[in-house]
Assembly symmetry: C2
Homo-oligomer: 413 residues x 2
């Protein structure tokens, strides 16, 4: 192998305006470039405790067990599902996009008895629809996606916790695509477990997954407690339920690692933890609600601009996430050619789509560090230029004017 052909990392400059990952906040990358300390160094365990405190703020919770799973966002999903679901457990998954299917699949791998209800892509469920399904199925767990990035829709969760309590159902949601850019009130809404990812509104790189667990969820998981053979002592009790299918995702062990016993499990991914801590710190410094309002401001400006360009949007706009918009690819326009021109000639990435929407919509995001006026304006301007070049007719400058008008109206309001 000729090693000289591999140059140092030097990625091209991109403005990432797809459904995520987006550009990391440079302050997060700087935090991640800090040197390591040992796994049990007092500095490290303090950072771990601070991460727990900071993410309680991000999740709007007082849950003790608020911590990181070392892996991408679906590592957080799987850790919760495989730790909580016992083989044969009934689970209910309201599916309104690809990530609902993902929850079903992971639950099936946990040998759950999976029940689904579905709405067409672009819609969400009413609380009544979910309550009816719970009444009919009587599941042990309700597995929801808050924001399904495949459709850009945001499932309202506020009323579901109370329903779940009434039927003694454990309530989980995946907030990867939504958290930080849309309201999520873990405790107030009675959510028993939430998982998230860094690469959307939190403004960091993919690679660690913040989760939070209610006391109820903790108790269910603790019943399956296991301490590793290599470090088990007679003081450690074995759990009541069958051992879970994973060591890496055994949340009982992960809690013992983050808790005062600091029982060795994995070697914490220190750089990722530094990054996650900085993401939370930035969000709470800005103020969680102010950050959500910022996502709404720029998301709405993008929407107005797209509409003024004469483009159609996809899905129920009343239930869209603040941070991402699905734009219908106009007839006669090659969606992939547009994405290539945007990327190669303007260094702006917009997203393609999965499944039934593949080839039908672009997904344009404005989130995290990129929920900024200059990102929205540059994207609209480049998109108008590219579409005009490809003979799609629009009124010159109308998109940018609509966005400017929106910013102006919001500022004087």
């Amino acid at each position: 192998m000729d090693i000289t052909q591999f140059s140092q990392i030097n990625p091209p400059q991109r403005m990432l305006m797809g459904p995520g990952p987006v550009n990391a906040d440079p302050r997060v990358l700087r935090a991640m470039s800090s040197q390591l300390v040992g796994q049990y160094d007092p500095a490290m365990t303090q950072y771990m405790n601070e991460v727990m405190a900071l993410y309680r703020g991000v999740f709007c919770t007082s849950n003790r067990w608020t911590m990181l799973i070392d892996g991408t966002s679906r590592a957080g999903i799987e850790a919760i599902l495989v730790s909580a679901i016992r083989p044969g457990d009934k689970v209910l998954v309201p599916v309104f996009g690809r990530f609902g299917h993902l929850l079903c699949e992971i639950a099936r791998r946990c040998r759950a008895d999976v029940h689904t209800i579905e709405v067409p892509w672009g819609e969400v469920f009413t609380p009544d629809q979910i309550e009816s399904a719970i009444k009919a199925i009587r599941p042990r767990m309700l597995l929801t996606v808050q924001g399904d990035t495949s459709t850009t829709m945001l499932q309202p969760l506020a009323e579901l916790g109370e329903i779940c309590r009434r039927y003694d159902v454990l309530f989980y949601t995946d907030a990867t695509a939504s958290i930080g850019g849309n309201e999520l009130k873990t405790d107030e809404w009675g959510v028993d477990a939430v998982s998230a990812g860094m690469q959307k509104c939190l403004g960091g790189p993919s690679g660690t997954s913040p989760i939070t667990l209610s006391a109820r969820m903790e108790a269910e998981i603790r019943r399956r407690k296991c301490v590793e053979e290599g470090i088990r002592t007679s003081a450690h009790r074995k759990g009541d339920d069958e051992i879970i299918y994973s060591n890496y995702f055994d949340l009982g062990m992960v809690m013992d690692y983050w808790g005062p016993e600091r029982l060795n499990h994995h070697t914490e991914a220190t750089s990722a933890l530094y990054g996650a801590r900085e993401c939370a710190r930035l969000i709470l410094q800005e103020g969680l609600n102010k950050g959500i309002a910022r996502h709404k401001l720029h998301g709405d400006a993008l929407l107005k601009g797209i509409q003024a360009m004469g483009l159609e949007t996809f899905g129920d706009l009343n239930h869209k996430m603040n941070n991402v918009l699905a734009v219908v690819i106009p007839t006669g326009v090659d969606g992939e050619q547009v994405r290539s021109l945007m990327l190669n000639d303007f260094a702006i990435e917009i997203g393609t789509s999965f499944g039934p929407l593949h080839g039908k919509v672009w997904r344009i995001g404005s989130m995290g560090y990129n929920a900024r006026k200059d990102c929205v304006m540059a994207t609209l301007s480049a998109l108008e230029s590219v579409l005009n070049y490809l003979k799609f007719r629009s009124v010159q400058g109308a998109a940018m004017q609509a966005a400017w008008d929106h910013y102006h109206n919001q500022c004087v309001a």
Copy 2:
């Protein structure tokens, strides 16, 4: 919450001379601070392909499927085990330390029929011992640890591949603690699957796990192929065997993501990938064998110094890893007090131990970026100072002189 109490990341300066994690090479941290690109950006897919090529060099293999699992080193272990082991499969684990127990535990969670052989901590197995057990048990897989960091021992693997072929056994090894600092010839030794971690001799932060799979291992895993419901098309075939217990660790899916189909699975942890790429590039720039020789040089210098200080070592020195040494805590000395003084007054971390060795030995490492003369000399000097302060008698300067002598002899040799 008062956010002002959370300052920016600013870890104390430490020289990490334990069994890992060690200090990351600053060039790796710089690579990791590069800005992100999109998941399917041509720049990103090229980096992924380069990572595959570079780690073929590190693993001494031509295996096509040489890639990263997004998680810590045990994520790589679990991905291979859960993808390859079918419920009820017989596996054989030669246990010579804590990480052998870990392999047993993960295999049990995969519902394997786990058989073990054991030697006392501080020893390793002969090929005959392993062949006899294979003959008696006839397992489908042999699960080994190359370097068990709990005992510092290095299990010889060179003859095991041929034995496994003869009995039609799949041969896996965990090389987390050994790779980069000790010889590992995946193809020449006939190893079917290897997993590793970044935080030891590879010189990076924990958080991603390089793995490699032989064609034989690939074929076994492909029989369990599954394509996610949300993105499955009629062109995708279902596997023959029962679906594995994990989505995140389903190596069939991970291969489809790293392969030409680029089928979406997780969102690759880009910063961790940048770091892992730089680690491999640095190792191959130095030359894999030169790097291993460097680990041996500094490991031996440390050993000579420790012996000249009048300290006993633990385990069979003929089978010790180059990169870590277990030192018996002398009678009358409080091992934790020594570690505290080393850390607080000299900013040097040395390691404690697990299980039967807990409180009996320190583990001192010199690996990755810290396999350097100045690290070895500073550690010996600080340890002599601390022990002298605690009234342990040694000849002033003898440890450093022995190390200097070793360096001198090696240079003139």
